[in-house]
Symmetry: C3
């Protein structure tokens, strides 16, 4: 799942600055999300067949759900480009995408450390994800302030404000992954 998050967020970041074919972009992002949903289904099925799990079943569930939320979040952002016919490039969206790429790599790193049972080393990527979320929150303030200062068409303002907010909420989802991991570390070390 964390590999798919990295792929999806890198695809989003690589394409969002220059959207030539919005329907294809939205469709590809939906495909990443469906792939992640299939992993969730597999994890649940395996969990129901397995008696002994390496960490608590509920922790596996919570982690699965929080990872799934990241992909749901970024896919929901991508869909708004299509729903709202947003095509012009936007430097703020590029900055959010870059933040999410960095956060996705930290998630991948943390999940790798979990699989290697290097629990205490997870704190480092968890802190990095929290820091990136703080930066995204600051970025949201800057770009919403700038939007209200420049955009006089209320409907255009509503569209772009929602995309900025959904991007920032996706960094909140990344932070939830970090918090879930920290709570697993706390219970298992």
């Amino acid at each position: 799942m964390s590999d798919t998050i990295v792929e999806a967020v890198e695809y989003f970041s690589a394409n969002v600055a220059d959207l030539k074919d919005i329907p294809a972009f939205a469709k590809d992002m939906k495909e990443f999300e469906s792939k992640c949903d299939r992993y969730v289904h597999t994890i649940l099925t395996e969990l129901n067949k397995t008696f002994i799990t390496p960490i608590e079943r509920e922790d596996i569930m919570a982690l699965t759900t929080s990872l799934d939320d990241v992909l749901d979040g970024i896919e929901a952002c991508a869909s708004r480009f299509e729903m709202y016919h947003i095509q012009e490039p936007d430097e703020y969206i590029v900055l959010f995408a870059d933040n999410l790429v960095r956060s996705a790599h930290q998630i991948k790193k943390a999940i790798y450390l979990l699989s290697e049972k290097k629990l205490l080393a997870i704190r480092e990527p968890a802190i990095a994800i929290n820091e990136l979320e703080n930066q995204a929150d600051d970025l949201l303030r800057v770009c919403v302030k700038s939007l209200f200062a420049s955009e006089k068409d209320p409907i255009e303002l509503i569209k772009r404000k929602e995309i900025y907010e959904r991007l920032e909420q996706t960094t909140d989802c990344c932070e939830d992954v970090a918090n879930t991991l920290e709570s697993i570390v706390m219970r298992n070390s």
Copy 2:
């Protein structure tokens, strides 16, 4: 509580397509919500008097809270019709209401299975509720896209977008009930 959810959602669905008396509609929905709040109060009082509970006290609390959130959600939707003076019928709202009716019946079924200790059978309604939430998310995208394509008055757009989003969020609350139930099943089977 699940009976009251079914009643409230069916009342909402039966009336929302043709709102003759919005204040009465909002008042009746508030009454369902207050009834549910009284059940929450009774459950909490009983829980504080009881030493041995059939499932963990915290699970009872989590389930109670998630059921209460469904009614809070649908009541908050109903109140917006009054706050925003929305009277004209809207086919999308009817579709959301229908989705919620089906979800409410699955919740009732799942709670019945819990009371009968048929824990493993709960997976089926839980999956159905998740599927209905996915459909509601797709419906939200369709109707918000259509709203932005047709509604040129930004204030009308804000009103209707919020109602659609609150209806979709109520299906998220139904999904939270399903997830709470699945986690209870996981810990008790």
Copy 3:
């Protein structure tokens, strides 16, 4: 942390009715939030050095997070005054601020009772916080209804609606503190 919440909310309430210097107001509110963040950091560091904790580590974590969310919420409200150049006094915002001051004092009382191990006495402030949240929800409905009835500029409406909603969401954060405390009481009494 609960002392800082009281300070921050009282400062917000004392100044919001007559905002002469919005940047200074937003900056001071940010300072309260940073102070709270430093407490969170200290709690986490201490928690990682300590073997035996008076209540479960996870409960300490959950409580810390929920207290932090209250300050994040009120600081986010304050920042919107600056982002949106909102300067004119607003009687509804004053009422929300008053609600939050009362809630903050109940939080402080509840945390004091926890520190004194008077667990059962925590129910009283917890109920008071829930009641204040209900009142804030009613207030939100009144002021949003009034806003739509009077404000014809959609961009002004968006700004003010968001501030009202964020204030109400901050009372939801207070309620989360109350719910976290009730669940700690339930597990420890």
